[in-house]
Every structure is written in structure tokens, then in C-alpha cells.
Symmetry: C2
Subunit: 110 residues, 2 copies
DNA sequence: CCGTTATATACCGTCCACCGGCATAAGTCA
DNA sequence: TGACTTATGCCGGTGGACGGTATATAACGG
């Protein structure tokens, strides 16, 4: 159930929700921004990941709005999601630090 | 060919090779150490990953030794592998920084 | 007035890295 | 003798990501 480390798309989706509740399309745009253009989520990736996050209790449906005839379904991060994301940040930072050390990339700005 | 981001096991295997050439079993032990006991590579994961790394030119067979009747097959990281690992370190660090920011984990030691 | 782009959600088949178990084999230690 | 460590390697199953497609409306541009 509580599977291994988050893959990048899922990690970024959770990160996107950490600031405030967002709807699907908003997440896609936000993730592109916070990854500095590196990650462009596909619809299939997003909604599949979102379903899994809800199923695992890491995110939850927040509310629904109808904006100009289009439905917007908002999601928010849960306490468990925030906790797991914090652990993931620590893991990524530790891995980056360890590998940087091995590569001799000592003086790298945080 | 140059597929997406490295998964954690592959990342740590490359990291292990970054310091010096190592044989399979040595990698398993080293990875357990550098991940502070978090990651225990299975043989299946290791040798599969190693084959892929060689196939992609990120690692190469270094030499073979026979130590007390047991064969040791050493692998080393290539220039391309080192380059990719550096890029991966930057990616991980950027993701950790972005998520830490969103979580309000500002004052975290690098 | 019509086609394209942007907004927005959702399904589905495919791929592949990782997982876990198993096999093999020689040396060590109790 | 049997358990454990070192050491390499195969194989089936799982699951997340990918890419494409479908659906629908609004806005923009030619």
C-alpha cells in the first residue's frame, strides 16, 4: 500500500497541492512552473496519479466549481500527504548530497 | 535512449560507482551505507540495472578478479554516466528545494 | 463563420524498471 | 552437518508513467 519513493510526476503534483488546493489543469501549469519548464504533465499521468493519491489518503477532493461552463474539480493535500512529502524532501536532499559528495561537487550552492 | 529521470536504485548504483570501480556485491553494501541503511538492493534489481547502465553507456565492465574461488566482476562509471549523474543531482536538489519552499521548510541545513 | 488554440476532465493500451523469489556455487564458522 | 556470507544471474509479476484519444466549451483569429 504505502509503496516506495514517489516518482517525479507524483512528487511534483503533491508539491503543487502543498501551497493551496488546485484543480487538474492548474496543477499541470503549476508543475511546469515549479520545475522550471522541465516537466510537462500529460493528462493521463495527472489524473491517474491524482486518483492514486486520493486512494492512498495523501490528497483529497476539495470542492467543485463551474467556471464559464467548465467544471473545475479541486484537490488538496492531506496531513499524511504533507508528512510524506516532507520525508521525500529529506530523502531527495540526502541522495543529492551523497552523490554530490561522491562526485566531488562539494561547494555547490543549496 | 536517454530515457527519463533515474529511479532511486539506479541513481544509487551510479553514485556508488562514482567513487571507484566496484563489483556487484560491493555495490549492494556500499548503497546500503550511503543511503544510511534505507536502501537494500536485491540481486535482481542490481544486475538488471547494471545491464541497463552498460547498455546505455553510463557504466562499463572494468575487470574480473577471482577472489577465493569466487568471481568478482567490476564495473566503472563512464564519462557520460558521470555527466548524467551530475545532472540528476541538480534535478533532485531543485525538486527538494522547490518542495521545501512550498512546505515552508525554509531554514533547512543544506 | 469556421478552424485553431486554450481550458478542462477522463479512459486505455503499452512499456519498463523495480520487486521478490529462486538457482547456483564456494568458502567460513559453529 | 548445517547455517551463513560472498557472489552472480534468471524470471514472472506489479504498478506508475507515457502517449494517444475522446469529449466539451469558450475565446481568438483569419
Amino acid at each position: 500500500m504505502a509503496s516506495g519513493p514517489l516518482r517525479e510526476p507524483t512528487f511534483l503534483i503533491l508539491t503543487s497541492l502543498a501551497a493551496e488546493p488546485r484543480h487538474g489543469y492548474g496543477i499541470i501549469q503549476d508543475v511546469e512552473g515549479l520545475s522550471e519548464g522541465r516537466v510537462r504533465l500529460r493528462a493521463g499521468t495527472l489524473y491517474g496519479s491524482l486518483d492514486r493519491l486520493v486512494e492512498q489518503g495523501l490528497a483529497a477532493a476539495d470542492r467543485e466549481e463551474v467556471e464559464q461552463g467548465r467544471l473545475r474539480r479541486y484537490y488538496r493535500i492531506t496531513g499524511a500527504g504533507r508528512q510524506l512529502l516532507e520525508a521525500e524532501v529529506a530523502r531527495l536532499a540526502a541522495n543529492a548530497r551523497a552523490a554530490g559528495h561522491r562526485l566531488g561537487l562539494e561547494g555547490l550552492a543549496p
